[in-house]
């Protein structure tokens, strides 16, 4: 993928993300992993994990990480990565800059517009479904040992990674009960995972 291709792809993703950060993840995932084969599902999942622990908006962080990798491949070195990171960031921002600036000037027309409301009433639940699908895609690289579709594909193997299951269940339980800070949860998971794999 060239830098220009990445920029245009990110413009497209930025224009079709409604509801912020998490809503961007399934779009990045299907485009980068399935369509462009730019990275594996596990690599992308690692980027998202990092995007969550680094300061700043998740969507922006993910765009910078992917842009960095693209820059390294095309130009090389940390400088190339930095250029790629900036290009990726500008890509996801471009639609916002145009659309939101326009809306800011016509705020009264846009607010409470029935057509806008109708469109969003379709997009909101669909985005929720897409984010739920992203849960499955990430689980496929941690909780399960293979893509879920292997379950209904003949001859394909499928298994469960017990370390992943344990951490998944623990995080779910702990967060439902105490709502701890995400950063601590992710760092604790990293440490726990290291020891679980030693067993």
């Amino acid at each position: 993928m060239t830098l220009l291709q990445m920029y245009l792809l990110f413009v497209k993703i930025g224009a079709f993300t409604f509801g912020g950060g998490y809503a961007m993840i399934p779009l990045f995932q299907t485009e980068l992993v399935n369509n462009y084969h730019f990275m594996t599902n596990a690599q992308f999942a690692n980027f998202v994990a990092l995007a969550q622990v680094t300061p700043g908006p998740v969507g922006l962080n993910a765009a910078t990480y992917v842009g960095y990798q693209c820059g390294v491949q095309n130009i090389g070195g940390m400088l190339g990565g930095a250029i790629g990171g900036v290009v990726g960031t500008l890509g996801v921002m471009t639609p916002s800059l145009i659309i939101v600036t326009l809306i800011a000037y016509f705020i009264q027309v846009f607010k409470d517009n029935p057509i806008v409301k109708a469109v969003l009433s379709g997009i909101r639940p669909a985005t929720l479904g897409l984010i739920a699908a992203a849960v499955i895609f990430f689980a496929e690289t941690s909780v399960f040992t293979a893509p879920l579709r292997n379950l209904w594909t003949k001859g394909a193997s499928f298994g469960i990674c017990w370390q992943g299951v344990l951490i998944f269940a623990l995080v779910l339980f702990v967060e439902l009960k105490w709502k701890l800070n995400l950063i601590y949860v992710l760092i604790a998971s990293a440490i726990l995972s290291y020891f679980l794999f030693l067993i």
């Binding site: 998490y22 998202v48 607010k111 941690s142």
Partner: protein, 203 residues
């Protein structure tokens, strides 16, 4: 005299916008609406540049336009408080901290890839991320899935992506049309009911 006084305050406003958004972006982890209370404190309570109802407008609009919420908030608040220049300055402020931090982390990370220990650690982190995203799905579903229609749309979207591998962008466009169609149908129905009600009265 007046002009001379006005100019420096305008410049200060842009600089303040940049500083505040830079700061908020650097300290807030997770992004999106988690930044809202910080912005509210800075622009409504501390500086009185916006009213509370302006802020409510911003929140409503930010959730109904495409893009990253933090960037959209910066653009809207920047535009409200200092025009187009404000929008640009604020969004640049939001973007700089993550880009700098991530370029550094990514550079370190690339040296780690392929390392078996790093892979084991990341397997656990990915499992945690799956759980965290599931939690946010649960939280979001409480406000979005209030009636049967959105539930059906959400389940359809999920299945189409997981089982049938459809294009995610195409799915969002289709769901926008579905929303329009459903709103149109329910409006027609209402009109028909009103018409019937009117006829009933005549008889």
């Amino acid at each position: 005299m007046e002009k001379m006084e006005k100019k420096p305050t305008e410049e200060n406003r842009l600089w303040t916008l940049f500083k505040v958004f830079f700061k908020i972006s650097a300290v807030s982890v997770g992004g999106g609406l988690t930044m809202l209370p910080l912005m509210d404190r800075e622009f409504v309570e501390k500086r009185n540049w916006m009213s509370e109802s302006d802020m409510v407008d911003v929140v409503a609009i930010v959730q109904s336009v495409p893009g990253i919420i933090a960037v959209n908030m910066a653009i809207l608040i920047g535009q409200r408080t200092a025009g187009l220049a404000g929008a640009i300055v604020a969004s640049v402020g939001v973007v700089i901290p993550p880009v700098v931090v991530i370029v550094v982390i990514a550079a370190l990370l690339f040296q780690l890839s392929g390392n078996a220990t790093a892979d084991h650690i990341f397997t656990g982190v990915r499992a945690a991320v799956s759980a965290l995203i599931l939690l946010s799905v649960i939280k979001m579903s409480k406000s979005i899935l209030k009636s049967p229609v959105p539930i059906v749309i959400a389940i359809l979207g999920f299945l189409l992506l997981v089982v049938f591998d459809v294009d995610a962008v195409g799915l969002i466009v289709a769901s926008a049309f579905a929303g329009l169609l459903i709103a149109g149908i329910s409006r027609l129905r209402k009109k028909q009911l009103e018409l019937r009600g009117g006829e009933g009265e005549k008889k």
